[in-house]
């Protein structure tokens, strides 16, 4: 018996780290959506959070109301997210092409609020369970309990990252997107169609956002207007990793997820004077600390100015 009343076990720590990875994966999916749009179009897309929200609701609509198979609903919601991303790009972003980035960023903030209110108008303000097949089931690994939803989250995220990596590294559309991200004008000059690149970026961001929304709502989570707010925690994850780096988005997401879960576990024990719910502040505190040391994020690129 320790004198400080320390009752943290190795198993509790392992469980926390595991759920930290799972939470981090969800943030990584959201952050990856942010990064892909930023890389291709240099727009900080706040509407990413509404893709998360709409994705969660679409999946709920199909899986619960229409009683479709959950996995079918998941894929269909991702397609829905992709379509939504393309519509936003086609109807709004494209019309401001060439305008100052600030105007485009404000436009995405507008989209965020509009979509937030539209979803509330359609589906109402209450939280509801996604009724995913994972629920609150756990598997026991010795004394360690792992949530099935978390296992799925980690698996699905890994698959999405692998697909993302293969697409970017080994397809000609992926090459076109990387070339456009590197130098848009030069990409246009070699005949890469920037409109296609932009459309695909927004579609991928929409699909990743929807997937993130479903993962956030699965297990112990729920679908409700708050989903978009949770997604904004991915914002520090993205900034932490560096706006331009997909790898940074993933690492940033994992750092934030782990930090949040560890704070929730350790802070009441060691720093109860910080009050309750400090784990919601922790991601931002870490973001600030890292930016002070590395203003471009962990994997960010310094802007190279052409002479």
């Amino acid at each position: 018996m320790s004198s400080s009343g320390w009752n943290l076990t190795g198993d509790a720590l392992a469980e926390t780290l595991f759920s930290g990875v799972a939470v981090g994966c969800k943030y990584a999916l959201v952050a990856l959506g942010f990064v892909i749009v930023f890389k291709a179009t240099k727009v900080l897309n706040f509407a990413q959070a509404s893709f998360v929200l709409v994705g969660g609701f679409l999946c709920w609509q199909m899986a619960v109301t229409w009683e479709l198979n959950f996995y079918v609903a998941l894929l269909a919601a991702m397609v829905g997210g992709a379509v939504l991303g393309m519509v936003v790009e086609q109807l709004l972003m494209r019309r401001l092409l060439g305008e100052p980035p600030f105007a485009l960023i404000m436009l995405t903030v507008g989209v965020l609020y509009v979509l937030d209110n539209v979803t509330t108008a359609i589906w109402g303000p209450e939280d509801r369970g996604l009724q995913d097949p994972w629920g609150s089931r756990t598997v026991d690994l010795g004394a360690v309990n792992l949530a099935v939803a978390d296992l799925w989250t980690i698996g699905v995220t890994s698959a999405a990252l692998l697909a993302f990596y293969l697409f970017f590294g080994h397809s000609s559309l992926g090459l076109a997107m990387r070339a456009t991200a590197d130098d848009q004008e030069a990409a246009l000059a070699v005949g890469i169609d920037a409109r296609t690149v932009h459309r695909v970026s927004w579609a991928v961001a929409g699909a990743l956002g929807a997937l993130a929304g479903i993962m956030l709502a699965s297990g112990a989570g729920s679908v409700g207007p708050g989903l978009g707010l949770i997604a904004l925690v991915a914002f520090p994850a993205m900034i932490l990793g560096g706006l331009e780096s997909p790898l940074g988005a993933v690492v940033g997401g994992l750092v934030i997820g782990m930090a949040q879960q560890l704070t929730a576990l350790l802070q009441p024990e060691f720093a109860p004077w910080l009050g309750s719910g400090f784990e919601r502040v922790a991601p931002y505190a870490i973001m600030v600390a890292i930016l002070l040391v590395r203003p471009y994020g962990l994997f960010g690129e310094r802007e190279v100015r052409r002479i």
Binding site: L97, G98, S172, L175, A176, R178, A179, D182, D183, Q184, E185, A186, A187, L188, A189, V190, G191, I192, D193, A194, R195, E301, V304, R306
Partner: protein, 277 residues
């Protein structure tokens, strides 16, 4: 009126790789940069465009390759034809599809991608994948220096290697008309010679070339025909040999007298002349 008729008095529309007619370009809806430029390039020719900084050469290239919109500029008058097709309102990608390629000023390679990825990116617009693969092989033969550094990140290449890469990337789409914007800028004399040889070689395989250069001696040494641009207008044109013999051009672009004047000197000289007036 057909400008450039001095070489081929009966140059028909179909014999022109590029035909720019009375082109006017306005930036931000107010700044008139091209004031009715006409220029054409006979199929298979090398044509050079000379002019001081700010004359509008790069704007003309942007207009031809369809990149004006990105700079908040617009072609308000005139037309651009590629191989007889009007492309004035076409998107840049469609123009590449019609056989146009451009090497931009400052090389503009994709610095974060590898040499191979840079070349492959130029082949995305090629007619077919197998064609792109064939061209890729030919580029490696043509530029052994790139073949040796295929998997290196392009940003770490030397200036000369980057220029070779920029040219190779542009050739990957199999163009019939190549625009080159100051390919010799900032490069050592030996590298400039290599680039000149590459341009001649590319042209020998049937690609028409529009070469924008500050290095007028180099440009005129390989060009068939030349244009001189000033303040958004074509002020002189003629066969390269007659431009080489021209006293004004010698003074401004080749450096008069026995001591070769650098371009920077000419620029200061020009400025003094304008301001002093």
């Amino acid at each position: 009126m057909v400008v450039g008729s001095t070489i081929e008095p009966t140059l028909g529309q179909a014999d022109k790789a590029l035909d720019v007619e009375n082109l006017e370009v306005v930036y931000n809806d107010v700044v008139l940069v091209l004031r009715g430029v006409s220029l054409n390039i006979a199929r298979g020719a090398i044509v050079t465009l000379l002019g001081a900084n700010g004359a509008g050469k790069t704007t003309l290239l942007r207009a031809v390759s369809g990149l004006l919109e990105l700079h908040r500029a617009d072609a308000t008058k005139g037309s651009i034809r590629l191989d007889g097709h009007d492309v004035t309102r076409l998107a840049s990608a469609s123009r590449v599809g019609k056989g146009l390629a451009q090497v931009m000023e400052g090389r503009r390679i994709f610095t974060s991608l590898t040499v191979e990825e840079n070349l492959r990116s130029g082949g995305i617009a090629a007619a077919s994948r197998s064609e792109a693969n064939d061209t890729f092989g030919r580029m490696l033969e043509m530029f052994p220096v790139l073949a040796r550094r295929l998997h290196d990140v392009a940003g770490y290449l030397s200036g000369g290697e980057q220029q070779m890469l920029a040219i190779g990337r542009a050739l990957m789409s199999g163009p019939s008309m190549l625009l080159l914007d100051e390919p010799s800028l900032g490069l050592a004399p030996r590298v400039v010679e290599q680039i000149r040889d590459v341009v001649v070689e590319v042209n020998r395989h049937g690609t028409s070339v529009l070469l924008v250069e500050q290095n007028a001696a180099m440009a005129l040494s390989i060009a068939d025909h030349g244009y001189v641009m000033e303040h958004g207008r074509i002020v002189r044109e003629g066969p390269a040999s007659s431009l080489l013999a021209d006293r004004d051009i010698a003074e401004f672009y080749l450096g008069g007298g026995t001591d070769r004047r650098s371009y920077a000197d000419v620029k200061t000289y020009r400025r003094r002349k304008t301001w002093g007036a």
